[in-house]
Amino acid sequence: MLCTLLPISEGEARVSGIDVRADPAAVRRRIGVALQEVGLDPTQTGRELLELHCGLYKIPDPAARSVELLHLVGLDEAADRTIKAFSGGMKRRLDLATALVHEPDVLFLDEPTTGLDPASRMTVWDEVRRINAAGTTVFLTTQYLEEADQLCGRVAIIDEGTIVAAGTPDALKAEMGSDVLIVGLDRSQHDEARAALTALRGLDHVTDAKEGLAVYVEDGAAAVADVVRLMNAVGLHPATITLSRPSLDDVFLAATGRRIEGGSPEAAA
């Protein structure tokens, strides 16, 4: 809807101060869009496609701008190959370049690194950081919370179509207010353990996690010994205890009650 591809079903939306419903054409002039599915014509070369898009956005010198963009995304050498011969990472970078031809105010990126190898993912991350540093607002939708943590100034967690948490990654993690101890227990032992842990000093809260019981506590390192003692006292013997600082995964878990596993909940920033 924000990209003007779908009609607004309800309410109001503004992009770069423009009412999307009232003036979608003005919104299109100010936004760049790189959707989850790489939208490239495989029969064209990288250069031809960029020159086409420069033309569509009325860029004064499409050839020069295309060279600039090809260099920017590291596709100078592949410029004259047809896109169908590109690897997944190259396609993703070219897709990003097509979204940047007119130096948009706002760049919408829908899961830009899905399906990429780690090296290509890092390249895209670097590119997103550079674009953002150059003054473009980046609206990133992702299922990778680490990606949101690394790239985003503000994060909103959407669950079932509703924003359930929003803020800077640091603020969201700070709201958790505690370290996380993942106590490796069988799920059938969780209730008993939960009851025993009420006596833990500095305890914030306890939730079920895939790997065991997630214990949110003020000082994780100091609490490990107490957790072991409390567990042993009720005859439980955790297989593992893992200490970590709260991550956006923990924020997500706290906000939605489950961990992200490529399902519907999304993070956007």
């Binding site: 779908l6 939208g39 014509d41 029969t43 064209q44 031809e48 086409l52 033309g55």
Partner: protein
């Protein structure tokens, strides 16, 4: 360069780079032409009055031309753009949506010209001659290609409405009754009553007759040529209008 020309250039490049998308559309009409000739050449010798001393192939050439250019290729290209997400990219660009359809139709024009030249070449190889000369040949190519453009709107509209490759491809079948309920084998006056009545209201009849008179007569018959051009224009306005409306209402 205008957005329509830019998108047209892209679409023409696509036609050039994927000949496999055009060749099947060309193969079927040429195959029909050859088979028909093999079957009826002896029944209709050059002395047959409606052939005007030409081989039967000359009578059939307009049918093959119309058959060859009436394809679902642009519709298939559109549904591919939808599938790969490229149409979304174009829709998010600050361009008139009509330019997307015009770009596709430009490819149909280029493809129509190329295919018409090939079909005429096959006809010439089998002994057909265009009695109205070079002007007639040029008119045959241009009118056939324009008919291809006019007819392409239907497959584009189906592609946009259904977003389905199989359905879009099947839209090609719509043309079969349109083509065969015409004076395609013999002149209109020799058709049986009900078929003659249907053929009279079938727009393709006027396309075939207009083109056929260019092949069979040394002088251009402006009446039938005008009817042919008018039918192309009206078909184009209606079907292109439908496809543009489908694009304006397009959303995933």
């Amino acid at each position: 360069m205008s957005e329509t020309l830019l998108l047209a250039r892209r679409a023409v490049r696509e036609v050039w780079r994927i000949p496999a998308a055009t060749i099947p559309a060309l193969f079927i009409p040429v195959f029909f032409l050859v088979v028909n000739l093999g079957q009826v050449n002896r029944i209709f010798p050059t002395s047959t009055p409606f052939l005007h001393h030409q081989h039967y192939v000359a009578f059939q050439i307009p049918v093959s031309l119309v058959f060859a250019v009436s394809s679902a290729t642009s519709g298939l290209a559109m549904v591919t753009d939808i599938d790969i997400g490229y149409l979304d990219k174009l829709l998010a660009a600050p361009i008139r949506r009509t330019a997307i359809v015009w770009g596709r139709l430009a490819a149909d024009l280029a493809r129509g010209v190329a295919v018409s030249i090939i079909v005429l070449g096959v006809g010439f190889a089998f002994g057909a001659r265009v009695k109205s000369g070079v002007v007639g040949v040029l008119l045959l190519i241009v009118l056939s290609a324009l008919w291809g453009v006019a007819y392409a709107g239907i497959a584009i509209a189906i592609a946009l409405r259904t977003k389905n490759v199989q359905t879009t491809n099947a839209s090609f079948l719509i043309f079969f009754p349109l083509l065969f309920l015409t004076p395609n084998f013999v002149p209109l006056e020799l058709l049986a009553g009900p078929l003659k009545a249907i053929a009279r209201i079938n727009p393709v009849t006027y396309i075939i007759n207009g083109l056929r008179e260019l092949v069979l007569y040394p002088h251009i018959h402006w009446g039938s040529l005008g009817a042919c051009a008018l039918t192309i224009a009206l078909t184009g306005i209606v079907l292109t209008g439908i496809s543009m409306r489908a694009l304006n209402h397009f959303s995933d």
